[in-house]
């Protein structure tokens, strides 16, 4: 099995603070991590290789420091990693990102032979769209199974998976090669091993830019992105909370009465 796992480096969201005055994000000192949902993709890819043999290649499009995320992926057990980095990619939306990642996968195929499986995370916690997985599939003209929660078996080029939907799960049989996006249930991510960490430190990452991928300039970065962000603003989430301090029995009774009064007033009970 030859598997490609596209991973994204994202800011650790729980550490993101807002500048109340300007309404912008304070990114200074915010740690960059592998998109937490991509860890499940890495894990299931490694498990499949352990069963079927082959190799797992992690790829990421991002700034040079995304190489840290790729090295972490190697420490977990990926065989190799490719950083796809170029100033021309700046400002890419999901259309332009999928285009670049698909081109990279095509090039891997040309250089090292066919890929059987591309496993993406369900979505990235920063962009939070979940569009890139299906986008890559569309560019490569492959089927895509989204929200995969279990991979049952792979035999004779057919892969049987469970796909989580609103009221249950579907059992799908897919011809390889295919793209999948996986959810948390698919596997629990392992921790990097000491040996993995040592390998990650030493390994030479392949780095590709626009020239390596023979991409059309007009389809890259902000110019190649159909969507534009035209405004960013802070939502007025703060409601006018009526707060009751309820530390003794009387205060608890009184507070509960106020809550019941509120529920009645709003016709909630």
């Amino acid at each position: 099995m030859r598997i490609v796992v596209p991973i994204k480096q994202v800011p650790e969201t729980s550490a993101v603070k807002m500048d109340e005055a300007t309404g912008t994000m304070i990114r200074d000192g915010v740690e960059a991590i592998i998109n937490p949902l991509d860890l499940y993709a890495i894990e299931i890819a490694i498990q499949l290789r352990e069963i079927h043999g082959g190799e797992v290649v992690a790829i990421s499009m991002g700034p040079p420091k995304a190489s840290i995320a790729l090295r972490e992926a190697i420490a977990m057990g990926c065989d190799s990693a490719i950083l796809i980095s170029d100033k021309a990619f700046a400002g890419s939306d999901t259309w332009a990102t999928s285009n670049v990642l698909a081109a990279a996968i095509r090039r891997i195929t040309i250089e090292n032979g066919p890929i059987d499986l591309i496993v993406c995370g369900e979505r990235a916690t920063d962009g939070d769209t979940g569009q890139v997985g299906p986008g890559i599939a569309s560019f490569l003209d492959l089927p895509v199974a989204s929200y995969v929660c279990k991979i049952n078996e792979i035999t004779n080029g057919l892969c049987c998976v469970h796909r989580m939907v609103e009221d249950g799960y579907e059992v799908l049989q897919i011809q390889l090669p295919t793209v999948m996006t996986v959810v948390k249930e698919v596997a629990s991510p392992r921790l990097p091993t000491l040996r993995g960490k040592q390998k990650a430190k030493k390994v030479d990452l392949t780095i590709w830019d626009v020239k390596n991928l023979a991409l059309e300039g007009s389809k890259l970065g902000i110019n190649g992105s159909p969507t534009r962000v035209v405004k960013i603003f802070r939502p007025s989430v703060a409601r006018n909370c009526k707060k009751f301090i309820a530390l003794d029995d009387n205060a608890i009774q009184a507070a509960a009465d106020r809550v019941v009064g509120y529920l009645q007033e709003k016709k909630l009970i």
């Binding site: 800011p11 969201t13 729980s14 993101v16 309404g23 994000m25 937490p36 999901t94 259309w95 916690t125 939070d128 769209t129 979940g130 569009q131 299906p134 986008g135 599939a137 569309s138 560019f139 089927p143 199974a145 989204s146 939907v165 609103e166 009221d167 799960y169 579907e170 059992v171 799908l172 049989q173 897919i174 011809q175 992105s225 159909p226 969507t227 534009r228 962000v229 035209v230 405004k231 960013i232 603003f233 802070r234 939502p235 989430v237 409601r239 006018n240 909370c241 009526k242 707060k243 009751f244 309820a246 608890i252 507070a255 509960a256 809550v259 019941v260 509120y262 529920l263 009645q264 709003k266």
Partner: protein, 333 residues
Amino acid sequence: MDYKGIWILAEQSAGRVQVISHELLTRGRDLAGKRQTELTAVIFGNNINNNDLQELIERGADRVLAMEAFALEHFLIEPYAACMLHLITQYRPEIIIAGATSTGRTLMPYVAIKATAGLTADCTVLDIEEGTGNLLQTRPAIGGNILATIKTPKCRPQMATVRPQSTQPAPRQAGRKGTVERLQAPSHLLVSRMQRINFVKNQEEHGLAHANAIVSVGRGIKKGENLKIIHPLIKALGAALGASREVIDRGWLSYSHQVGLSGKTVNPKLYVAVGISGSIQHLAGMQTSENIIAINSDPDAQIFRVADIGVAGNLFDIVPVLAEKIRQARMIS
């Protein structure tokens, strides 16, 4: 640009039109009014119920395009995408809105790539820009801490998904007129490298997504066994049970209960947060709830900032009293 008209992507299951379709008609009617253009509901399936298609007209569609084939009975990416692209090429809509469902979130990006269209996920507000007529798409960014407005100035169609339950279903107006076109899907579009061989319905169905009221518990509950003190409150309110990720990660409840950035987005009339601190990841999944009540022992907990009414104190003392009072109030009314 000769792209015209607004589309919504209606969804069916076993031939019956799903409620998300009616929610999308609310969005679509608003946009079609502002754009002074026609609203079309597009639907893929097999033997779709005729009354349900008529109902799409009564709820606001001017036209229904129902494309049918055996291979379209269930969502499969390749035939669905091929049929949708076929219709887009033929009718050239300027806007397509779909639900952010497991179908919409997969089909829309696949189609948007091939149509070179812009796509914005999980929009909370959709509007038309005066002058240009561009679709303005507003969505939460970075875990709901900021909102971003996005537009697609050059490419058509402009595509967007909206979260289920973020809009009321469009009301039914008996006798409203429109056309229903049933189209046979061309067979060369129905090739699929994927087959659906089974479907297993969820055993435990808490219906978080459709609940009118949700009571969610956080780490403040301290132990899985303590969940029993929440049950009278849930019962009194007729609520579904949600939870923060801390509760899931400790194995006190299964993942299907998780509310938040990496769990479910919910939008009930009433959300009661019990022993939840209010991290931005949790807020991202519930802050648009109509009414929010928080119970937390820390008077400065962030959850109070998004609550309408808050009780600062020990949940183990407060919840039983509150549950009993609600039960009594309901018996009287």
